[in-house]
């Protein structure tokens, strides 16, 4: 597992209170991991903080799965 992916997974486990096995690359925050709209906003903020990036709102809307988050961060993290 890449460093970015493992950090993303541990944030999701912490914030959504889910088991590591549930956090697959295809898993959707809202459909599979029990997040509501506020949880999703909080996750994005945590990713921004952890990886020192700014995710604009229009881009954040497209990050709905674990894989989409990892890909976005891999492309933008400094």
């Amino acid at each position: 597992m890449s460093d970015i992916k493992s950090r993303v997974v541990s944030i999701i486990i912490d914030k959504l209170g889910v088991e590591e096995a549930e956090v697959t690359i295809e898993a959707s925050f809202t459909n599979d991991l029990g997040a509501d709209s506020l949880d999703t906003v909080e996750l994005i903020m945590e990713f921004e903080k952890e990886f020192n990036i700014a995710i604009p709102d229009d881009q954040a809307e497209n990050i709905q799965t674990v894989g989409q988050a990892v890909t976005y961060i891999e492309e933008h993290a400094k």
Binding site: K15, L16, G17, L38, V41, E42, M45, E48, K49
Partner: protein
């Protein structure tokens, strides 16, 4: 329209002297102090370095960690005490009409710690706002009532009452009024407070309201003692299940006591100081007695506001003498804040529970920490100093007064 009768069918308490109703009551009648050095933050530079904090409490014993972190401490306390009261009442086991069950929940301040933490985060950053999406719904005062309703699916009247230290008494009176008007079958009422924070202690110190007896925290809350020097900040929660009498009887509920009446008034005098002659306090007790259709001689016990401040204790005592006349000498009076400290918005409900259990058990909890008589107080009054007293308690009255001049008086009586 004939008003309905309202009874108490469930109790919950999370207090500095006990984390359940049973522990709380045992603490009250044994004269236990909840005061100790502050553990929740480093208070070493504060004028007051002690408080009545909740002890041995791990929120994850009660609430899933993911949910718990979305709740300010005042809401966590609300969930714990309301759960105890709901379980005690067995209300949900009777498959009630949840459209007719409400929640009215008071807090003087609400999510103070959440406000403080978010502001600290902002100041630590570069000025770019990065506020957590849960910040506002954690902080706002009405959210505790919302969370309780969501947990049980209660779709009846739902709101918060805010009147500083009278908040949860206003919640109880509002719940009582709505049920007796037929607007609900039952209401979860009460209140919670979690202000033992940097801003809470610092703010009340700024007001010169707190005792600074740092060398002896457990004797600092000493209402009616000559050397009282301010209140001791407490935290916690209490809950009452108030229920329409016929509804409670129909489901075979255990009934603790009947709500006899409630009064509300304002001093209209000063933002923090009480009226020197206790005008608002006098009026509110008269109003409550009238509402309850009781006379001064019917009352056995007054759980006073009695915060252990130099002025407040005097004006309340004047008011009691005005209202009760010669009957004042037959009453038991006590300030359970001598043990619990002052739970601000949650004070009214935990003191209502003290009244309800004094009625149930025929025991009056004491005013502890009495060392020196103060000539300001009539020595013929029975303040139940230092030791609980057994006596028949048919009727008990609870006073709570809040900054802003808000006064409430609530009366409970044995079910007949």
């Amino acid at each position: 329209m004939e008003l309905k009768r309202v009874v108490v069918t469930g109790l919950g308490a999370l207090t500095p002297i006990g984390n359940t109703v049973e522990e709380y009551w045992n603490g009250l009648i044994s004269g236990k102090s909840g005061a100790a050095p502050i553990k929740q933050f480093d208070a070493s530079k504060f004028k007051t370095q002690f408080a009545c904090e909740i002890k041995d409490f791990n929120v994850e014993d009660f609430i899933d960690r993911k949910e718990a972190r979305k709740l300010d401490q005042f809401s966590q306390y609300a969930m714990v005490s309301s759960s105890e009261a709901m379980a005690d009442s067995k209300l949900m086991e009777s498959d009630p009409n949840k459209d007719r069950i409400g929640v009215i929940w008071g807090s003087g301040i609400g999510g103070l710690k959440s406000l403080q933490d978010e502001h600290e985060n902002f100041l630590d950053g570069d000025g770019t706002p990065k506020f957590n999406p849960f910040f506002i719904p954690k902080m706002i005062v009405d959210i505790a009532a919302g969370h309780i309703a969501i947990k049980y699916g209660l779709r009846g009247p739902n709101f918060a009452t805010v009147s500083a230290c009278a908040s949860s008494s206003n919640a109880i009176i509002d719940a009582y009024n709505l049920i007796r008007l037929g607007k609900a079958d039952a209401i979860v009422s009460g209140g919670s407070e979690a202000a033992v924070t940097i801003m809470g202690v610092g703010g009340f110190n700024g007001l010169r309201a707190l005792s600074m007896r740092n060398d002896s925290p457990e004797t600092a809350s000493r209402p009616f003692d000559k050397d009282r020097d301010g209140f001791v900040l407490g935290e916690g929660a209490g809950a009452l299940i108030l229920e329409e009498y016929e509804h409670a009887v129909a489901r075979g509920a255990k009934i603790y006591a009947e709500v006899a009446g409630g009064g509300m008034s304002c001093d209209a005098h000063h933002i923090t100081a009480p009226h020197p002659e206790g005008l608002g306090a006098r009026n509110v007790m008269i109003e409550a007695l009238k509402d309850a259709e009781l006379t001064p001689e019917d009352v056995d016990y007054i759980n006073v506001h009695g915060t252990s401040t130099p002025l407040g204790d005097i004006s309340e005592t004047k008011a009691i003498k005005d209202v009760f006349g010669e009957n004042a000498y037959n009453l038991n009076i006590s300030s359970t804040k001598s043990m619990t400290g002052h739970l601000l918005g949650a004070a009214g409900v935990i003191e209502a529970i003290a009244c309800i259990l004094s009625i149930k058990n025929d025991i009056v909890p004491p005013t502890i920490n009495h060392f020196t008589d103060d000539p300001e107080f009539d020595s013929k009054l029975n303040f139940t100093f230092n030791k609980a007293q057994e006596r028949k308690v048919n009727v008990a009255l609870s006073n709570t007064f809040g900054f802003g001049g808000h006064n409430t008086s609530t009366i409970f009586k044995k079910l007949k």
